[in-house]
Symmetry: C2
Subunit: 307 residues, 2 copies
């Protein structure tokens, strides 16, 4: 079984691009072409989101290695949103894209096991082990400590999947707890998390040299990213915050190793929103594609300039 890290690195190579598109459904900001004609129909929410995301996937499938689905934006639309989530995951996988679910789940061990089964592994349903979401990778919060992370690590080993553990997130409030200097060595909390990540990462290194256990490191904190890059040399970073949150290509580039690998940079709003309501499907496809190409160029130049 090929490891998640190896599949991701291979896909980055094939597409020549370490940038991924984030999918955050916001019904009120989608162009009209994707909105179901009969809004009173019970399936209008699910079919509108699905159509919107299929269009994005069609626009970028040959130029990006994967997608990041922010599950909160699907959950906000209830069961209909979750139907669209499952349908989008299916369509992305069918198109050979790596599916990363940004879920930031975490709980005590027995509950973390249920989340790991839901997102990465299999669940026992009337005696049969069945895949549920079957994503390639998900994000995991570290607040509950090691025993809350291990069920996810085990699922990665067993099913060829990956996780990104939150280390230093892209938001301003990440300073509140993550930046506190703690413990005997008085090192910041996100560095403690990096130590945990690196220990798990060492156990799941693929033939690419990279591990399926990675970390979330915001593009908004380049100095912190440099320190984290040194502490977790084998981990791939999921790098949010480029664009709408103020992260630049230069700061995102700090998350890469000298070999040009080691991170995937994710952007959502700047790639898929801000289109006029009357944008046609064709214009939307061209727009999303050209924005995604521009971001890839920006990031690749910054990595090159740094290298």
């Amino acid at each position: 079984m090929e490891s998640y890290a190896d599949r991701l690195v291979k896909s980055i190579d094939e597409k020549g691009n370490p940038c991924i598109v984030g999918l955050d459904p916001r019904l009120d900001q989608m162009p009209d072409f994707s909105i179901s004609e009969d809004k009173h129909c019970s399936e209008a929410v699910s079919s509108s989101i699905t159509e919107y995301h299929r269009t994005i996937i069609d626009a970028v499938r040959d130029i990006v290695p994967g997608l990041k689905l922010q599950i909160a934006f699907y959950e906000q639309y209830g069961l209909a949103g979750m139907e669209a989530f499952y349908e989008t995951v299916r369509y992305a996988k069918k198109n050979g894209l790596i599916v990363i679910v940004d879920a930031k789940r975490n709980d005590i061990a027995s509950t973390a096991q249920a989340y790991a089964s839901a997102f990465l592994g299999r669940s026992s349903i009337f005696g049969n082990d069945e895949p549920i979401i079957d994503a390639d990778c998900m994000t995991v919060s570290p607040y509950l400590g090691r025993d809350s992370i291990e069920p996810f690590v085990d699922a990665c080993a067993r099913y060829g999947k990956g996780i990104f553990i939150l280390a230093k997130t892209s938001n301003p409030g990440s300073a509140d707890l993550q930046d506190l200097e703690a413990g005997k060595e008085r090192k910041r909390i996100y560095l403690h998390v990096a130590g945990m990540v690196n220990a798990y990462a060492d156990k799941l290194i693929g033939s690419s040299g990279y591990s399926s256990i990675g970390a979330v490191v915001g593009a908004t904190f380049p100095e912190e990213a440099k320190a984290l890059r040194r502490l977790m040399p084998k981990s791939i970073f999921l790098v949010p915050g480029y664009g709408a949150q103020g992260g630049t290509a230069l700061s995102a580039a700090a998350c890469f190793n000298k070999d040009g690998y080691g991170a995937v940079v994710s952007a959502s709003r700047i790639l898929t929103y801000g289109f006029a309501k009357d944008t046609t499907k064709k214009q939307f496809i061209e727009g999303v594609r050209s924005r995604t190409e521009a971001m890839a160029k920006d990031i690749k130049e910054a990595i090159g300039a740094k290298g």
Copy 2:
């Protein structure tokens, strides 16, 4: 609009009991009476979980103030599990029970807003603001800091809802980050979180004197609970860990104020599992009810002894 805290305190008074039942669907451990006859029918998962939880609600609705639904155990069964989740929330509310969803959600502000809409508030669907899960309360993780918590606090104020922010969780791994001594005062991370919780709590105090912004404090750490009780005098604690995780009534009692209020103690496995497969519905109802009554007696005696 009555605040969440006031509704919870009133319900605790009416039932004369601060203990709540946790619902964690595990298909392979449910007695046969609740399992749908046609397991190959696409609705078998959802109808089995729903039947199981309706039976539990029927068994305890007059003796407990509320329920805690652990959403991970529903998510592990995919869309069918989520259908059962929505149906269980509906049935619990119809029976006048306070619904707490243990979801431990957290994300950057714009995403936290989507979670807050999903669980507590309303989502804009084709121009209409519609309730989605519409729970009374949910659990929230603090790892991303203040800006990640504020959208939940705002939803509590606007919709009369509540949150429990994770402070000191019940699992052994909670020591890994939560117990680290941090910052200038070298105080433990869970104490930093307590400071954040208390600041939010002060803004949402109801006529009961209690706030709708509470904290999760495990029944497994009584010394930590005493310190947290002093630091968050107006917050209600959600206390997991009694029973299966080794927490005792005496240690849970440390989470209560001298007025006998200030906490709800939750148990799941010890109340609803461990029944033989051939347990009849009648036996199951009697069993769940007598276990719940025994737990309530145990907790109330410990609060009284401490008083």
